[in-house]
């Protein structure tokens, strides 16, 4: 029978689990203070560029940037273009990310099946990581055109590596006892993969996913800047506003692009916690 002492031990263990889950008291106001300070410094620098240098477009006032974010200013269609560009870049980033997830997990699963497969295939994942993607971009454009497919390809290439390496690490994180437990019951490769390795790999897969998601936004914007044909995304908008000296609009676009990156990072972090947070502590 379970004795009182053991029940108490379990309760202590559970409380400990709950405690580690709770972070230090919510500190939302600390970053807000930093933001206020940054905006203040920004305003001072903007005033300097405006008053003594006469180059107001280089560092526009914060409130002008805010205006450009919220509604059309001197540029009649800018605001509409901004949100359309955000939609297109998000579509490129998410499509690229989805493909990177599928390829990355499949690649890692294949490698986890045998040491020789890992030895033969892993170097190429590293090579992919080392190839300067920017050097390949003109070639990709020539081969696949300058529209959506090329942008997605660039995104996949940038976002793929963390998926491969984290998934592989996760699949190999099972301990010997667990593997032997399956072996003793005569479980095959498929069963072991489905019931042991993949569930055990989920926490690292989500860590990789979060990193890849952030990279996919970078990929979408980089791809956009190089393939200037087709419907413009945030990257195109950044180049256009920069070349036309549209200060507030340029800053507004940069901010939207950054927020997209942050949003994607947070959403996939949250997804990970929802999926495996019940039994795994991310920290």
């Amino acid at each position: 029978m379970v004795t009182l002492q053991e029940v108490t031990e379990a309760r202590v263990a559970r409380v400990a689990v709950r405690r580690t889950k709770k972070r230090a008291p919510a500190s939302w106001w600390q970053p807000v203070v930093v933001l206020a300070l940054l905006v203040g410094v920004w305003w001072l620098v903007a005033a300097y560029y405006d008053k003594s240098k006469g180059l107001a477009f280089l560092v526009p006032y914060p409130h002008l940037v805010l205006q450009a974010l919220v509604h059309d200013t001197t540029q009649p269609t800018f605001n509409q273009e901004l949100w359309q560009a955000l939609g297109r870049s998000t579509a490129v980033a998410l499509t690229g990310l989805a493909i990177a997830i599928v390829i990355g997990v499949a690649w890692a699963v294949v490698m986890s099946q045998a040491k020789w497969l890992e030895r033969s295939l892993y170097p190429y994942a590293v090579v992919l990581q080392c190839v300067p993607i920017l050097a390949l971009v003109p070639l990709i454009g020539a081969l696949f055109g300058y529209g959506f497919p090329s942008r997605v390809i660039v995104t996949v290439m940038i976002a793929l590596f963390p998926m491969v390496s984290n998934t592989l690490f996760g699949l190999q994180s099972t301990d010997k006892g667990q593997r032997e437990l399956f072996q003793l019951q005569g479980a095959g490769r498929g069963t072991r993969l489905a019931k042991l390795q993949l569930p055990a790999a989920l926490p690292s897969i989500f860590v990789g996913l979060r990193t890849s998601a952030g990279l996919s936004v970078i990929g979408a914007i980089v791809g956009d800047q190089f393939f200037q044909r087709g419907n413009p995304g945030l990257g195109v908008l950044i180049q256009v506003t920069a070349s036309r000296l549209m200060g507030p609009e340029l800053y507004a676009t940069i901010i939207v692009a950054s927020l997209l990156g942050v949003a994607v990072f947070l959403v996939f972090g949250l997804l990970g916690r929802l999926a495996v947070g019940r039994w795994y502590d991310f920290s």
Binding site: E9, G177, L184, K195
Partner: protein, 211 residues
């Protein structure tokens, strides 16, 4: 039956050969049991599965239907005294309770032969003694053959009808002791002079084999 011996003498290898995880490099291993339960040094629970699902795992791997394995797991959980904890995750349990879950998981196989690889080595003394008592109770109720590997001489004597002492490399059997105390055993038997004397004898044999 228990096996005691210094580290590295091949105790665990013996179990691994008996279970089929390893094959003997020489000689013949005769294992006359089709259903073998193996209890590892760690609880080796799957952290994403609840107690109930962990206990069901082996039956699930053997392709048994859901109803049957649920009922079987329920009985096993009851046997180890974890009723009420079915929905808990391993991380919410104490070390002793994890080991009970591991024990329950093996019980679902209705093993004729139980192999224990130092299962209680990582637990504190009190929990260990309590689990020893329960293992004996299970043994009396279920009647299986058990091969128990341990570092603790008193655990070996308390649990077994036979204690085998092995020596260090190359691992050989030094001596075999018969434990005369009848089953079921009273936990207080551990405090009797006869028990202490036998433990002493086994310890001496162990030390001599070590030289």
């Amino acid at each position: 039956m228990s096996v005691v011996g210094p580290s590295g003498c091949g105790k665990s290898t013996l179990l691994r050969i008996a279970s089929g995880l390893e094959t003997a490099s020489d000689g013949v291993a005769q294992v006359d049991a089709s259903r073998i339960g193996y209890v590892f040094q760690d609880a080796t629970l799957l952290p994403w599965r609840s107690v109930q699902d962990n206990v069901e795992l082996l039956a699930e791997l053997n392709g048994q239907p859901k109803e049957a394995r649920r009922a079987k797991a329920g009985r096993a959980i009851e046997l180890v005294g974890l009723t009420g904890f079915e929905k808990h995750l391993p991380k919410q349990l104490s070390g002793g309770m994890r080991m009970r879950t591991s024990l329950a998981r093996s019980l679902t196989l209705d093993p004729e032969l139980f192999l224990f690889d130092e299962p209680f080595g990582a637990l504190d003394e009190i929990t260990r003694e309590r689990l020893n008592d329960e293992l004996l109770r299970l043994f009396v109720e279920q009647r299986f053959a058990g091969l128990f590997i341990t570092h603790s001489v008193s655990e070996a004597v308390y649990l077994s009808t036979k204690v085998v002492v092995m020596s260090g490399r190359p691992g050989t059997v030094v001596r075999t002791f018969d434990v005369p105390f009848p089953m079921p055993r009273d936990p207080d038997i551990r405090f009797t002079p006869e028990f202490a004397e036998l433990v002493g004898e086994v310890s001496r044999a162990l030390r001599e084999g070590h030289r």
